[in-house]
């Protein structure tokens, strides 16, 4: 009897996120108006920037690709009852894994062997990085929220150390590795589309978008169609019931985190193999944390995560356009807008949902009366 509001399924999945988004935009519009800008102009520049051109769409989807990986990572851990804050570090390690194998073998292996190897290596590095906190949680009781945060710092320091002291070519002043050979380059979307005869503007968008969509499908199938996914969700919802069912809870914790880390580690395919062609600093730049917001907004479901990722990709891309186009509108304002969206679609959902249910019940009731 605690749930004194109930939303129909369609409203819960479609209407509620839309309303949350609208409220967030309204709040942001208020702030925009306060600083003396025209909210409608800012919004139109933002939407135009994100979706108005091939280039805009490409950038939006390029950002979205990274968010899909990190969002899925958070979601899988969440279904296992774990809050993985370490997507950032796992993505860094994933990129490192992707890059190291490329530096090592890209001169001698063709692309068809190189790229799967880079994917595998990135996923393994990410998984390994997540497994350590998982083990500590499962067998030693150290909370993953704490350990994964710490592992983010370790990961970023490790990357700096390796780039500065080990991977930097002799004589180079910039903190980055040597460039990979061509076989380690994941084809751009424009190249792939050109091969099938579609013309598309050149952009950082690359085939890892396809990989991200496949990963989403794989996560869905894993969680809801396989026995392993069933057991992982059982542990996530009720450890004591899982124990009763004979499921080894500790193993499941490690498995959930390893899969989560592997998904975060695939960020390297987009940023390192798809765009930069070399290892460098800051290629994750907060995407691990954005993944938490994405998973929250996408209700930890792969389909929701894809939509939320596109939304956040659009905010990044459109926001950059706004900062460029609208005088007096800084990058920080865009961050504020993102903040509102996280606030209203994450934290405030439970405030908005009962109100929406109330409004809906009134609307439906009056509909019945008049009909």
């Amino acid at each position: 009897m605690n749930a004194n509001y109930t939303l129909p399924r369609w409203a819960d999945l479609v209407l509620l996120p839309a309303v949350c988004l609208a409220v967030a935009l309204l709040a942001a519009a208020g702030v925009v108006a306060l600083v003396g800008q025209e909210p409608s102009e800012v919004l139109s520049v933002l939407v135009q920037g994100a979706f108005g051109s091939q280039r805009g769409i490409s950038y939006t989807l390029y950002y979205a690709t990274t968010f899909i990986f990190t969002g899925l990572a958070v979601a899988v851990a969440f279904h296992g009852g774990l809050f993985n804050i370490g997507g950032e570090g796992q993505a860094i390690l994933g990129g490192l894994g992707t890059g190291l194998v490329a530096l090592w073998l890209s001169n001698s292996l063709p692309a068809w062997a190189m790229l799967p190897l880079m994917l595998l290596s990135g996923a393994l590095f990410g998984a390994a990085w997540a497994t350590v906190p998982a083990y500590l949680q499962a067998y030693r009781g150290s909370h993953v929220v704490i350990t994964t945060i710490m592992f983010n710092f370790i990961a970023s320091s490790l990357l700096v150390y390796l780039l500065v002291n080990v991977l930097r070519p002799a004589g180079s002043m910039s903190v980055e590795s040597a460039a990979f050979a061509a076989s380690a380059k994941l084809p751009g979307m424009h190249e792939a589309l050109a091969a099938v005869g579609v013309e598309w503007d050149a952009s950082p968008l690359n085939l890892s978008l396809v990989l991200a969509l496949l990963a989403s499908l794989a996560v869905y199938v894993f969680l809801w169609r396989t026995q392993a996914g069933y057991r992982l969700r059982a542990v996530g919802s009720s450890q004591s019931a899982a124990e009763y069912a004979g499921i080894n809870v500790r193993h499941q914790i490690v498995i959930a985190m390893a899969i989560s880390g592997a998904l975060a580690g695939m960020v390297g395919m987009n940023e390192i193999a798809g765009v930069n062609g070399k290892l460098l600093l800051e290629f994750v730049s907060g995407a691990g944390f954005t993944g938490i917001a994405v998973a929250l907004m996408g209700r930890n479901h792969p389909v929701g995560i894809i939509f939320a990722s596109v939304l956040f990709g659009a905010l990044f891309q459109g926001g950059a356009e706004v900062a460029f186009e609208v005088p007096g509108f800084s990058r920080e304002m865009v961050v504020m807008l993102q903040g509102f969206i996280v606030l209203f679609s994450g934290a405030m959902v439970y405030v908005i949902a009962p109100m929406l249910a109330w409004v809906l019940s009134k609307v439906l009731k009056s509909g019945v009366q008049h009909g």
């Binding site: 169609r225 396989t226 392993a228 057991r231 919802s237 124990e243 009763y244 004979g246």
Partner: protein, 526 residues
């Protein structure tokens, strides 16, 4: 809490108009809907001042909703409330307290880390200096304890108080705040028989001092023993209201369920038990604090026999169930299940137990037996997900699971028959039926059942009993752990009694008396 609310034609029997006695509470025309469910429909409740008034009904009958409306947790959609003859509006618990209404919840609302005294004054401190408040409250409480016989150690931490004391503290807290009308929600659910007796003594004293008591319960014997009047609710309506002199346990049960129910023992025949299917020897269990929970326990379960384990909760019964089902590895001892023998270095695990034909209906339905977030067909395969009809090569068969669940629901009359409904949305009785269906579905050789009917409606209890008897008759070895003595006596062929981790007695059912078992439950003749 969504019960099927079908109306049966058991008409409103006698709404005896009580003439002169002033009414402490008069609720009239109370309606309350939750979505499509009418939790209360045109409810009228008259409680005479200075009486104990029982409100009985199955889960979902609307009695908790009615009390929540009286205490201000919910607002009625329509209807009026009069307290001591005055029309009142109760918007929240503060309003209720101001009207002299106090409530003792089934789950105590106490802060474990504060003392008893601090809990009483929490939120009602009579002075801003704590030591002065302390003294004021203490003198008032001392007088109150003297007058009512509700004795509690005021300076003990609540965490250290036994359950009975915590309940007395809750009552004290309500009285301290000036309650003239006391609502008790299932007060005896957590008490031992002795504590229950004590509670009733106190309630009789309070009644003699003019306090009006509303007792919500499903234990009809207690209603008969304590109440002056009783209201029976079913499907959100009052179906009966009568003085206790005109009531009987059978009549009340029938009014609650809407048909005749058979609760007691069916037969007293002595049956020959078969082969021993499960036995444990010298099982020793220590908890994390190194306190011994099971002292070298021995037990045999034989085919075609129901063994009942009686005892006050917390005397090792839970550990016994966990050890037998493989959830807990003991510190010492052996277990023989069929042809396999296990010892403390290599104990049975739950998965293997199922493969060897041991099924377990756990005591704690919410924490163990089901995953409350799962839809019914996911919970219905919990622990059995490796069966070929549910999964092959790691792939779950949704159609297989749905079909099997629909069949289980049909066989065990789970309502609503909707495999897609979330497990938490079923009522307690239907959850339990689904769990039983799952555990009995694979025709186990040994069946362990903890608290088979906790939080289960009378109608479902009857059904569950009959299913357990069917298993026994089919040659299954059944162990029933229950804190309800009536249940043990109704089901068992053999009874063992536990106290502080030891078996203090083992009796054939024909030798069992309530008094005898009660004595063994407290440690036996010294």
């Amino acid at each position: 809490m969504q019960e099927s609310l079908e109306e049966q034609d058991l008409s409103l029997e006698s709404t005896t108009p009580r003439a002169a006695t002033p009414l402490a509470i008069h609720m009239q025309g109370i309606h309350k809907r939750f979505g499509a469910v009418a939790a209360n429909a045109d409810v009228e409740l008259q409680v005479a001042a200075g009486t104990v008034h029982g409100i009985v009904g199955e889960n979902g009958a609307g009695k908790s909703t009615l009390m929540s409306i009286l205490y201000g947790f919910y607002q009625a959609d329509s209807g009026t409330i009069e307290v001591q003859g005055q029309r009142v509006v109760i918007r929240n618990a503060d309003d209720a307290i101001a009207q002299g209404i106090g409530m003792v919840h089934q789950h105590f609302m106490l802060v474990d880390t504060l003392t008893a005294l601090e809990n009483v004054m929490l939120g009602a401190e009579p002075h801003w200096l704590l030591h002065k408040a302390d003294a004021l409250v203490r003198s008032k409480l001392d007088a109150l304890m003297q007058a009512t016989g509700l004795q509690v150690q005021l300076d003990a931490l609540v965490a250290d108080l036994p359950v009975g004391d915590r309940q007395r503290l809750e009552i004290l807290k309500a009285l301290y705040r000036g309650a003239k009308i006391l609502i008790l929600d299932e007060p005896t659910a957590v008490l031992t028989p002795q504590e229950t007796e004590h509670l009733f003594k106190v309630l009789r004293v309070l009644r003699s001092q003019g306090t009006t008591i509303l007792l919500i319960t499903h234990k009809l014997k207690e209603v008969m023993g304590l109440c002056d009047n009783v209201t029976v609710m079913r499907g959100g309506r009052v179906v009966q209201e009568l003085p206790i002199a005109q009531a009987s346990v059978e009549g009340l049960a029938e009014a609650m369920v809407g048909r005749k129910v058979q609760m007691g023992r069916l037969d007293a025949e002595v049956r020959a038990a078969g082969d021993t299917l499960l036995s444990v020897r010298d099982v020793l269990v220590k908890d994390a604090l190194n306190v011994v929970r099971l002292h070298g326990l021995n037990l045999d379960l034989r085919a075609g026999e129901i063994v009942g384990v009686a005892g006050v909760s917390g005397n090792g019964q839970s550990e016994l169930l966990d050890v037998l089902s493989g959830l807990l590895t003991p510190d010492a001892g052996t277990l023989t299940l069929g042809s396999r023998t296990f010892d403390a270095t290599q104990w049975l695990d739950p998965q293997l137990a199922r493969e060897l034909g041991l099924a377990h209906v756990p005591e704690d339905r919410h924490a163990r037996a089901m995953v409350m977030d799962f839809v019914a067909w996911e919970s219905a395969v919990l622990g059995y997900d490796s069966l070929p009809e549910y999964s092959r090569g790691g792939w779950m068969s949704h159609t297989g699971m749905r079909k099997a669940t629909a069949a289980l629901m049909e066989r065990f009359d789970v309502r609503p028959r909707d495999p897609e409904l979330k497990s938490s949305k079923f009522s307690g009785g239907n959850q339990q039926k689904l769990v039983l269906a799952r555990e009995l579905g694979q025709a186990p050789k040994v069946l362990l059942v903890g608290q088979p009917t906790r939080g289960v409606d009378i109608g479902a209890i009857e059904f569950i009993y009959s299913q357990l008897r069917i298993m026994r008759d089919a040659g299954c070895a059944v162990l029933v752990v229950s804190s309800e003595l009536d249940e043990i006596l109704a089901l068992s062929d053999r009874v063992i009694v536990m106290n502080q981790g030891r078996v203090t007695g083992e009796l054939a059912i024909k030798d069992c008396t309530e008094a005898g078992i009660g004595l063994l439950m407290t440690g036996g003749p010294q």
